[in-house]
């Protein structure tokens, strides 16, 4: 009887002891973290999706080679790539496969905002976190619970283009008086151009013309003629890539003289592929980007070098967004593993971990333009910042923010 009491007391005691006073926190048993990537790998927008895929493969390889997620017992990230085929339906189907078949824990995508929206119809009910690399403002303004977005939204790009232009004019003792806004007519073009318009309006400047054109435009000459008739001192342009080559070539061949042409939105004009295709016509073109490949931090330099070594090109908009998005995910997973060991990969816990981050150092901060990532309740980065690159001598150089610029912007355009 005494023996029985002692045994029962010992068992109960040990059990209480181990529950109440654990000797060390248990490491969650996670074999892998499944990361989905939905990008336009074929079709009209494939140029962006393929660069994003390259960046994701590179960074995930690096995270895994450095031991994976420490707080999850060194669990590795496994990438599941799906092609949206440059359509909204394609993005929805891709998300359905990733959520229902591959059982991913998080999805990065889908670069095009309207495609991302269809993806959210699939991911929200299943509580799968989406880390968006699409920029249109409304994605984070519709009350979705499982979305975050680190890059600056479209209207911030528009406002940044204006701030840059105003600064350049001020440095030269001038004021903007006759701006013209030119943009493609898709949603991204509209919202980015609205950002330009709103910032100009706030500064008391009224555009003399706002010209919208279809993305599949085949001839820019009539647009250039209309700009010429408006006699602007600055042209704000929001192209969507291939049209930026047409625009640059038409400006050059028709001899359009404007003191400053500033792009907004990070697609076309000043990235290496657009420069290659536009040739001399690209010279002095400017665009705003969500990523600065010339950010002089140690990690960014290493990563850019590694990207160039592997893919033979400079990483720009699509790759850059994936760089800091994946490193931010890594930080969140570390937090989730520590704080929610019972269920570190659930959508709710992962969101809580993401919202608790305040990153000012490490690879995510070192690849982010402002060096600071902290999410607002709607999922946007409170410290979002865009930069401006200008083509000088056939290469893109950082010209804005002025305090970090590699070179002074060439103004007025020769």
């Amino acid at each position: 009887m005494v023996v029985a009491v002692v045994v029962i007391a010992a068992v109960v005691g040990i059990s209480v002891f181990t529950r109440v006073l654990p000797l060390s926190q248990p490491t969650p048993q996670v074999s892998e973290i499944r990361v989905g990537l939905v990008e336009p790998l074929s079709g009209t927008y494939a140029v962006f999706g393929n660069e994003a895929r390259m960046a994701a493969e590179l960074v995930i390889e690096e995270i895994n080679s450095k031991g994976g997620i420490a707080s999850l017992g060194g669990a590795k990230l496994k990438l599941f790539v799906e092609d949206s085929k440059s359509t909204a339906d394609g993005a929805r189907l891709a998300a359905e496969k990733l959520v229902n078949v591959d059982k991913v824990h998080v999805i990065i995508g889908a670069f095009i905002s309207s495609h991302t929206l269809t993806m959210l119809d699939v991911t929200e009910p299943k509580k799968v976190v989406v880390m968006a690399d699409a920029l249109v403002d409304y994605l984070t303004a519709r009350g979705f619970k499982y979305i975050v977005r680190l890059p600056p939204k479209a209207s911030v790009h528009g406002a940044t283009a204006v701030d840059f232009a105003v600064g350049v004019f001020q440095q030269n003792g001038m004021k903007i008086q006759r701006p013209v806004i030119v943009h493609f007519d898709g949603l991204f073009g509209e919202v980015t151009a609205d950002g330009v318009y709103t910032r100009l309006r706030d500064l008391g400047i009224r555009p003399v013309d706002r010209i919208k054109y279809p993305t599949d435009i085949t001839d820019m000459a009539p647009i250039i003629e209309r700009i010429r008739q408006a006699n602007p001192d600055v042209v704000f342009v929001v192209p969507y890539y291939a049209d930026s080559v047409l625009f640059a070539k038409a400006v050059a061949s028709l001899g359009l003289k404007v003191p400053l042409i500033v792009g907004a939105g990070g697609t076309g004009l000043a990235d290496p592929d657009s420069i290659k295709a536009s040739g001399e016509a690209a010279e002095y073109m400017i665009n705003t980007y969500s990523y600065d490949p010339f950010l002089p931090t140690n990690y960014n330099k290493q990563l850019v070098q590694a990207f160039q070594n592997r893919y033979g090109k400079l990483p720009t908009e699509a790759a850059g967004i994936v760089f800091y998005t994946l490193w931010t995910l890594k930080e969140a997973l570390e937090v989730s593993g520590k704080n929610y060991p019972d269920d570190p990969l659930s959508g709710d816990n992962l969101m809580k971990a993401l919202m608790s981050l305040d990153i000012t150092s490490g690879p995510a901060a070192e690849t982010y333009p402002s060096g600071h990532i902290k999410l607002a309740p709607n999922g946007d980065n409170l410290y979002a910042q865009a930069v401006a690159l200008q083509v000088q001598g056939g290469k893109p150089v950082l010209v804005y923010p002025f305090d970090k610029a590699q070179a002074k912007p060439v103004f007025p355009r020769p």
């Binding site: 494939a46 054109y213 001839d219 000459a221 647009i223 003629e225 209309r226 070539k249 061949s253 536009s278």
Partner: protein, 291 residues
Amino acid sequence: MGADFGVQLLQTILFGVMLGGVYALAAMGLALLFGVANLVNFAHGEYIMLAMYMAFVFSVTIFQDPVLTPLFNIPLFFAIGVITYLGIFKRLIKAPPLSQIAATVGVLVLLRNLALAIWAAEPKAPPYTVFATSFSIGPIIVPLDKLLAMAVSFVTLFLLNLFLERTRLGVAMRASADDVEAVSLMGVDTNRLFLLTTGISLALVGLSGSLIMTYQAVTPTSGLLFGLLTWAIVALAGLGTVKGILIASIIFGLADSLASGLWDPRGREIVLYGLFILILWVRPKGLFGRR
């Protein structure tokens, strides 16, 4: 304001005529194949895209300037035409239209994805052409690249017209466009006729690809733009003459340019295809159609 508008109008009309000149050459190849061989080629836009890519390749590797690339593009695309005819089109000539559409849509998908696999999705364009400049006549600006493209197009169409009007082969082609059975009964080798027609059709595509690349960029989806447009031009012109294609193309070029320059660039397709429907409503055979 009135003078400014006059200048803008004249300038926009000039751009429209130039654009129409380039469209004409791009559509002529399609009209020839459809007219003579009765073949519905849905991959025509993709062949133009391929010709643009080859012009890009030749200009960055050999010539440094797309202006010289027709020297390679014309014979290359004639050969591609011959191969395509022997490999695919020959079996489609007597097939029902639905089979022709299915097979050429297959070619379309194949070529588009082939371009994506080879050249990726980034826009490609020759970085340099000596004609990427302009000169002024008073307040009117004349871009040299488009002037050249239009001039080459007009000369080519003039020569093609002479060929169709004055040579035995050309006459056989025109006769085939009217009644292929009768031509066959007259002892003409229609197989050889269709082979040459496909070759010439794609040689014209090769030339138009080179001309377009003097001012354009190409992506794997560029064929989309030219596919529908060239079909609309052929339908608007009606199956008949080179002149019909030229006039229909200039109407399209003008509508395109005037809508973009004076109204709203987004209304371009409304004007283009609204005009298209209106003309076909009044003249169902097209402007110059014989059948």
